[in-house]
């Protein structure tokens, strides 16, 4: 039964000649999240892909725990952990071609790192030494976006512009379940569908928008169902099954690149850690729920499937963990060095050319810094 066939569905008297724009049925997601690992189809996944996914999952988990530790040590102002969601992050980071663009939110640092960003540069926003630590063009990763869902129209505009220029570039935009309530989510999906833009939207449904559960966020049967209203396919996938997320995203990317327009993918996953270090997750969810999701861990799922196919042994696990430890050690070492900040940089890049007002204010700060330096000199 399609949405339009449901009892009580709104059916206005159609004007003469009115026809539904599309048959809604092919746009609707499957009732159950799509899974690969643990199914017969897992036998067909390329061993190379599984090995890459595994290595990045293990490194990603370690990156998350290390960054969380750095917040406790005061080295990061905040870190929104993606522990438990690494499958989504890794798949998003690996699925694109070099020329494609990734549009991450503040929780998607790991996807940016998997795509090739220097792990320290990716943390600049969260350390607080600048608002973004990298040139977005280098790896085609937009700045981590703090306001919810506002990066989604950017992805649509970029993909649209690329297509107008004749480039077969795809944009992949990441958003959380809470972000789907924002107006920009709606406007971005609507624009993407109307413009037939080569965009893929990945909703990481991790259960909570800070403390508000999905049931209080939406009355839709699933977030993927929202796709039908825009006229694009919706796909529901097990967000902890790295192979399934990768496959569904890869298919959506292929479709977009081939001129098939946008896709909305909902990955059902869970945020194991609190929203950030400033959040007390015990106030809104029981430990038993967290434990149930720990049992559905993306790394464990993948390791089990790979061991079944003799693609992974203890040695392989140890090698991945060693790589992860090297990543963490490098991160610790470099993050324990205080960043060198030039206060005069405050006046850079506000405008292409400094206004006279900013020139005056820069001179004021320069004088204050000189006076501070002179005072410090006298004190020696």
């Amino acid at each position: 039964m399609t949405v339009l066939e449901q009892p009580g569905a709104y059916r206005p008297t159609p004007p003469p000649g009115w026809q539904p724009r599309v048959d809604a049925a092919p746009l609707l997601p499957d009732a159950e999240p799509y899974r690969l690992l643990g199914t017969a189809a897992a036998a067909g996944i390329s061993p190379d892909l599984l090995t890459r996914l595994h290595r990045e999952l293990v490194r990603g988990r370690r990156y998350n725990t290390q960054a969380t530790a750095l917040t406790r040590q005061g080295r990061l102002a905040v870190y929104p952990s993606s522990t438990g969601q690494e499958a989504c992050q890794v798949a998003a980071g690996l699925v694109l071609e070099d020329r494609d663009w990734l549009f991450p939110s503040y929780r998607d640092t790991l996807a940016a790192v998997v795509r090739g960003l220097d792990p320290v540069d990716a943390l600049t926003l969260l350390r607080g030494d600048w608002h973004s630590g990298y040139d977005p063009h280098t790896h085609r990763v937009a700045p981590l976006c703090t306001p919810l869902a506002t990066q989604l129209p950017h992805a649509v505009g970029l993909a649209h512009a690329a297509r107008l220029k004749g480039d077969d570039v795809v944009a992949l935009a990441l958003v959380g379940d809470g972000g789907t309530s924002e107006g920009d989510f709606h406007e971005a999906l609507n624009f993407a569908a109307v413009w037939h833009a080569p965009v893929v939207f990945l909703v990481q449904n991790n259960g909570f928008a800070i403390s508000v559960p999905l049931a209080k966020q939406t009355a839709a049967p699933s977030l993927a169902h929202k796709a039908v209203g825009y006229g694009m396919p919706g796909r529901l996938v097990d967000g902890n099954d790295a192979a399934a997320v990768h496959e569904v995203l890869a298919e959506a990317v292929r479709r977009a690149r081939g001129g098939g327009g946008p896709t909305l993918v909902e990955a059902v996953t869970y945020r194991i850690e609190a929203h950030t270090n400033a959040d007390d997750a015990t106030r809104y969810r029981p430990d038993s729920e967290v434990e149930a999701w720990r049992a559905h861990d993306p790394i464990a799922l993948l390791e089990e499937a790979m061991r079944d196919r003799q693609l992974l042994d203890d040695e392989g696990v140890r090698a991945a963990r060693e790589s992860a430890e090297r990543l963490a050690a490098d991160l610790r070492t470099r993050m324990h060095q205080d960043p060198v900040l030039d206060p005069m940089a405050l006046f850079e890049h506000v405008y292409a050319d400094r206004t006279s007002q900013l020139r005056e204010q820069a001179a004021q700060l320069r004088a204050e810094l000189d006076a501070e330096a002179a005072d410090a000199g006298e004190g020696e």
Binding site: W130, H131, S132, D135, P136, H137, A142, P143, T146, P147, T150, L152, P153, H154, A155, V156, G157, L158, A159, H160, A161, A162, L164, K165, A171, G183, D184, E187, A188, N190, F191, V194, A345, E348, H349, V350, Y351, A352, T355, S356, Q357
Partner: protein, 349 residues
């Protein structure tokens, strides 16, 4: 910037609306990365017909009718700018732009700064603004203070046909985002102007003195922009009969602000009145008066006065003439500038 060519080019009356349309057309012809997008800009040519003919001439990919969603229009423009295009966005009316404020304030204005210059936002946001056309609610707001208060945005408002063309070309050519405030009630104002030989217009950030005074004893500077400039020019003409010599400074650009031209004029005249339609409390006039006072205090013969719209939501059209600063209200303020000789304690300010 297009420069004047051919002295024989015929100059004939043109409206500001025509000059704006011509600026868009010329900018699109000169630079294939310029794209116009907004609600109704394509087939209809815009509700004010500013974009008339652009979709026909450049195709719907260059002049695009978008879904009706201002945040989406500006948000997609951000992505287009990220990929090297120069979007020119139309917000159909001033108050219709409000849904796009998050994109404007959180992204458009900051992207250059956030990315240390790697991602400039060469976006022009055209906002038909201000009152005086009998528009119903949400069609006559003067929102400039919201834009002015946001670092990273340039804010310009033309008052003449030549400036409308020149400033819009400059805005589209600018590598920074520009809020381009189009005074709706001047859309049909005419001037002798030639699209084939547009006048040289000073760059964004420069004010101009219109109708310079001679700096006599009873002199003052009227500081204004956009739709209030013609009001000030008319007031200056009327005041001449009263023995006042008024200089009108047309700011043209609120951000960057031209302290130099404004202060040079006030130092010459010794008195200043700021005139605008938007509200007085927390409005642009307060900022301008403070800047002038800080820089010209010893030259001032009287406090800097403000003539602004009342501090009310924009009134219904049948009452707007009581709200909008007109010539008489400007002249009343000028009369109050005779601080030493004629002003007395207890007079109503």
């Amino acid at each position: 910037m297009t420069t004047a060519v051919g002295a024989e080019t015929a100059r004939k009356p043109a409206t500001m609306a025509q000059a704006l349309g011509r600026a868009l057309r010329d900018a699109m012809a000169a630079d294939p990365s310029v794209h116009v997008l907004g609600e109704d800009v394509g087939t209809l040519g815009g509700v004010f017909r500013i974009t008339d003919g652009l979709a026909e001439e450049f195709g719907e990919d260059r002049c695009t009718d978008t879904p009706l969603a201002e945040a989406g229009i500006l948000g997609t423009a951000v992505g287009m700018a990220m990929y090297g295009l120069r979007p020119v966005v139309e917000m159909q009316f001033d108050a219709f732009a409000y849904p796009s404020f998050e994109q404007l304030i959180s992204h458009v204005s900051r992207m250059r700064n956030r990315t240390r210059g790697a991602m400039p936002m060469p976006i022009t946001v055209r906002v038909p603004y201000g009152g005086g056309i009998g528009g119903v609610e949400h069609h006559s707001d003067s929102s400039e203070i919201y834009y002015m208060a946001t670092p990273g945005l340039q804010v310009v408002a033309p008052a003449t046909v030549a400036d409308a063309y020149g400033l819009l070309r400059a805005a589209i050519a600018s590598d920074d985002p520009v809020i381009f405030l189009e005074p709706k009630r001047l859309y049909w104002s005419k001037a002798d102007w030639s699209a084939d030989a547009p006048e040289q217009v000073p760059p964004i950030g420069r004010a101009v003195v219109r109708g310079p005074g001679s700096g006599g004893r009873r002199s003052a500077t009227l500081i204004s922009y956009g739709p209030s400039v013609p009001v000030c020019l008319e007031a200056a003409e009327a005041a001449r009969a009263e023995g006042w010599d008024l200089e009108v400074v047309d700011l043209r650009s609120l951000v960057p602000f031209d302290d130099e031209t404004v202060c040079a004029s006030v130092r010459r005249t010794g008195r200043a009145v700021v005139v605008h339609e938007s509200t007085g409390f927390g409005g642009p006039g307060g900022e301008i008066a403070a800047r002038v006072t800080e820089r010209c205090f010893h030259h001032l013969e009287a406090p800097v006065l403000r003539v602004a719209g009342f501090d009310i939501p924009y009134p219904p059209p049948m009452l707007e003439r009581h709200h909008l600063p007109g010539v008489d209200r400007v002249l009343d303020a000028v009369a109050r500038l005779q601080w030493e000789s004629e002003w007395t304690e207890g007079s109503a300010v």
